[in-house]
Structure formats: C-alpha cells, structure tokens
C-alpha cells in the first residue's frame, strides 16, 4: 500500500516503534492490506452494516446507586499515586 504511513499510524495509536519495528511492520502491513483489498470485489452498496451479531437496541437499567470498588481497591494497581489520586505528568502548564 503506497499510502500507508507507519509513522503516522503509530502516532495515532500512541505506540513508540523502533526503526526496525517500523520497517518490519510496514512490509507486513503491505501484505495484509493487499489481502484485505479483496473485499472490494463485493458490491455492498445496498447492504446494511452489522455492528453486533445479536440485534439489541437501547439496553438500559434503572439509575440506582450500588456497590462499587473502594477508592483504595481502584488505586491498588496504579503505577503511581498520591493523595488518593492517580499520578500523571503535568498536562497544563
């Protein structure tokens, strides 16, 4: 695929790639995208898309409070935390 830009897509996906990974992935994506081109053989202009195999619409439940994880449990797996919050690098200067 001539218009597949690995650097751009990796940026969208927020994945840092090494130059070797970029090279290898570009080649493999070329093969895979070449293969999935075959879908263009089919005329699907009058076909509705399927998002889910079982058609369910508007699944709702009563808006009630219930049990949930405690703050301590929710933070237990955090890589960095302080004062009962997740720690991240500064976002706003």
């Amino acid at each position: 695929m001539s218009d597949f830009n690995i650097k751009y897509v990796a940026h969208l996906a927020r994945i840092a790639l090494t130059p070797e990974e970029e090279k290898k992935l570009s080649a493999q994506m070329g093969n895979i995208l070449g293969y999935i081109e075959k879908l263009k053989e089919l005329d699907v202009s009058n076909v509705e898309p399927t998002a889910h195999a079982v058609p369910l619409i508007n699944v709702t439940r009563a808006d009630e409070t219930g049990e949930s994880l405690s703050q301590e449990e929710a933070l237990r797996n955090a890589p960095a935390r302080a004062n009962g919050l997740f720690m991240v690098p500064k976002i706003v200067e």
């Binding site: 992935l25 879908l39 263009k40 089919l42 399927t50 079982v54 369910l56 955090a78 991240v88 976002i91």
Partner: protein
C-alpha cells in the same frame, strides 16, 4: 484411573459417594503439573496453597451433604485463561504491559464457577491479549502441544487446551474471538465450545473484540462441556450484550437422538490448503453421522472467501479501541516520558508484543479518517452477508459440519514470521464469531506420523447449544477418540 485423568461426571459420582475428597482431586492435578508442566508450560502461574485451601473448604462442606443439582461443579478444579479476572489473582493477558496487576474483582463467569462449587485455579498461557493462533505470542514463553512438544498447541487458548489434554486440570475456561477455543481444542485433542454471542457474560473478561468475544469451556468430553455451559450461561446486568434468554438443561439434552436430523456440508470449505489426513478424518465422521441416522445435505456459504479479510478488519478495529486503555496511567507497567504523550507511547511501545502492535496499527489504520468507509464500514457490510449465509443455511439444516482447522498442529516457529499465513489458518472458525452463532470442536481422529489430533467442528443456530451438544455427543459416544491421551515426552 488417576483422579486428574477423570471427567467431571466420573469425579462427581465418586465425590457424592464420598470415595474421594476435593483435596485429593486438586492434589492429583497439582502432582501432574509438577510432573509435566516443565515440558508443556500450560500455566503462567498457579497458587497451589490457595487451590488446596479452596478444596479443604469444600471438603468441610461435604460433611453437610453435597447437592450436585445445586452445585454441579462441586470439588472440580477448573483452570482459567489469563484473560479473565479472578479476585486477588494476577491478570496479565500474557502481556508485559499489565505489570504486577492483581484483579480487584471476579468476572461473572468466575463468580458462577465458584457458586457452582468449582476450585478456580491457575493462569493458563495464551497469545498476548488473545491475539494469535499458536500461543507463541506470549510474553511468558510458548506452550507446547502435549502430543508433540516440538509443536504448537493452537491458540489463543493454547494453555487451557494443553492443560486439559495433559490432564493437569479437569477442565478449563478459554475465550473465542475467531476460533481461540475451538482451534486449540482440535489441535490438542479435547472438546472446546464457543457459545452463541450473548450466551455467557463478558463482564471481567479483558476485551479484545467486543462484538466477537465469548467465554467457553474446554473439557475432556462433550458431557462435561454441557455441564460447564449450564453453569456459565445466563443474563448478566453487568454485561449489556448478554441476552436474557432462559438457560436450558444442556446436560439433559444429550440423549443420543440424532436420527432424521439434517447436517450441512458447505461446499466452500473443501479448500486447497486442507490437509488430506484432516479431510479423510472429516469424511469418515460424515459417514458415521449417516450411520447414526442423520441426513447429510450439501449447502453453500457463498461469502466464505471474504471471512478472513472481514474478520481482520473488524477484530483489529475493535481491538485498537479496547486496548487504548493500556496507557500506563491507572494500572500496569509504566514507562516515563518527558510529557504524557511520550508516557503513553513509551509505555505501549515497551509493553505490547509484536502481534498486538501489528493488530493495533491495522485497526487504527482501518478506522482512520479517509479509510473508515473503505475498510471498516465495508467489512461491517460484508459481515451482514456472512451472517445471512448462515441464517439461510440454518433454514435447511440443523447444524453444519466442517474441519476445525485445515491442518493438525504445526511446528513451533513454522508460521510466526508470516502473520498472513497464520491468519489464513483460522479460515474455518472465524465466520462463526462474525455470524454470532455457536460452535464446538470434538476429536475426530489422528494423523499417522506423527500422531496428532484432528478436530471436527459443528456449527449451530444462535442459542442452539442444546442441539449442537446432542449431535456432538452422539458422534463422540460412537467413537473412542476422546478417550485417547498423549504420552508426554
């Protein structure tokens, strides 16, 4: 027969008579793990003390009398694929990115197993985030096929299938997004069932492709799969895609009556890459069904040739969205950067393995601006055609027969450098997930040299698990394939 080699129904009968204890069953599995798992590596980890403590609690309960009607899995060890949350146990999805994560809660399927009296133990190896067909894509090393340790066990639930085949557990849970229960079951010579989409709650299952994922059992025979499915099934308010449909008595449906049923053979499935030994095993199974009184009907699933491409667009698109949550902020391993953008990219670059990166990249691309209609929307429309193929076929037949996999287990490393070839090996299993129907793989023979298991796939109507299990059981009981066990060397 050693306890760890027994089936759920055999153990249940002996427990009820108090000939054996839950501790003895669990210990027997742990002994087998100590004997063979160095060669197989079906488990990423297991907590033997916790497993035995669960068994001891059950043995105390036995004193008050066991009610197997209420607790159909009483005293039965069940191993869990490393993609489902079990409270206070590690959950890694066979990835580095989750670091030392421990689950703060139980998945619904796990809650149900525990309420049914099962001993929930172990973290079965898998392809990272369930992406793969060989269990080679694990950050914790490859799992080996118990029938030939130079070969792959299939995937992505390869650890679960190998653990059952090697008698390291009585049964296991797996997950199936495009064949990840059925294909490893076939390659390891055990039974694997993918329920209809919405039959089993996905709450507490780490999502790969949310519109395709289902949890299901891997067992030593069809009857055990029926018992486990009965426990796992049912509506869950915590999973809005689970379906409020009554749960029938699956085990009670195994009455052997298949005379007069119509079974469809799709002509599109006789493809070039089908191994001759697999073909002849499936042909022989078809003959057996005729002898059992079923009628064989040739059917057509005209869009079969588009299934792999459709699947790899939809599954990767959903995966790219689902795996966005692994960003080093709320859980898992973090790799710092100069700002939060770099923190995300560095964490994901270091934490994800090659196949996961490949699929996220593909999924991101097919959803990206300018390509969405050409790829993702087109794939969703093709999915409609594939689903319609099956619904049309089920107007004429009660179930569909196919091979589970075009070949028996391949060598470790044989396809790992060619992702497209690996994807094409899923040809017979992925349509089932796209269509949202149910499917099962049962052993149907062996290749000659080396001796490797071959799987027969049966596909059933949405919520047609009773019929599917009845047909699979009738076949299984007419043969003895499922009683053969590997000699682990």
């Amino acid at each position: 027969m050693a306890l760890n080699e027994s089936t759920i129904s055999e153990l249940t009968a002996r427990l009820a008579k108090r000939e054996i204890s839950a501790r003895e069953i669990m210990q027997s599995c742990l002994d087998q793990i100590a004997r063979v798992d160095g060669k197989i590596h079906a488990f990423i980890s297991y907590d033997d003390k916790d497993a035995l403590a669960q068994a001891d609690l059950l043995d105390k309960e036995i004193l008050d009398g066991i009610n197997h009607a209420k607790k159909p899995l009483f005293g039965i060890p069940i191993a869990i694929k490393d993609v489902m949350a079990v409270k206070n146990q590690p959950l890694n999805c066979a990835s580095k990115i989750l670091g030392g994560f421990k689950s703060p809660y139980d998945a619904t399927a796990i809650e149900k197993l525990k309420s049914a009296g099962a001993i929930v133990f172990g973290r079965c190896n898998m392809d990272e985030f369930a992406m793969g067909s060989s269990t080679e894509n694990s950050a914790f090393g490859v799992t080996r096929n118990p029938w030939d340790t130079t070969r792959i066990p299939g995937g992505s639930s390869g650890g679960s299938a190998a653990a059952v085949a090697a008698d390291e557990t009585i049964a296991a849970l797996g997950t199936d997004t495009g064949g990840s229960i059925r294909q490893p079951a076939a390659l390891c010579g055990v039974v694997g069932l993918k329920p209809t989409y919405g039959r089993v709650s996905r709450y507490g299952l780490v999502a790969f492709a949310s519109s395709l994922d289902q949890v299901g059992p891997l067992t030593k025979n069809v009857s055990d799969a029926a018992v486990l499915l009965g426990v796992l099934s049912g509506h869950d308010r915590r999973d809005s895609t689970s379906i409020p449909q009554p749960v029938p008595d699956y085990a009670g449906a195994l009455d052997g009556k298949i005379r007069g049923l119509k079974l469809g053979l799709p002509k599109e499935y006789m493809i070039g890459g089908l191994d001759p030994e697999v073909k002849s095993a499936v042909d022989a199974a078809v003959k057996t069904f005729q002898e059992l009184g079923a009628e064989i009907v040739e059917i057509s699933l005209p869009h079969t040739d588009y299934a792999v491409a459709t699947y790899y667009i939809i599954a990767t698109a959903e995966a790219s969205a689902n795996l966005a949550r692994f960003d080093g902020v709320r859980y898992g391993a973090r790799v710092e950067g100069k700002d939060f953008w770099e923190l995300y990219s560095n964490t994901r670059g270091a934490g994800f393995g090659g196949e996961v990166k490949r699929r996220i990249i593909l999924g991101t691309y097919v959803l990206s601006s300018g390509y969405y209609d050409a790829y993702y929307l087109r794939a969703q429309k093709t999915r409609t055609l594939i689903r319609k193929d099956f619904l049309d076929a089920f107007e004429k037949v009660d179930a569909i027969i196919t091979p589970t996999s075009p070949t028996a287990a391949f060598k470790i490393g044989e396809k790992s450098d060619d992702p497209l070839q690996m994807y094409l090996s899923d040809i017979f299993t992925i349509s089932c997930n796209l269509a949202g129907i149910c499917g099962i793989s049962v052993p149907c023979g062996f290749t000659q040299n080396p001796k490797l298991p071959i799987g027969l796939q049966l596909l059933g109507k949405p919520f047609g698990e009773e019929m599917l299990l009845r047909i699979a059981h009738a076949y299984e009981q007419s043969k003895s394939w499922h009683t053969q066990r590997p000699k682990i060397t």
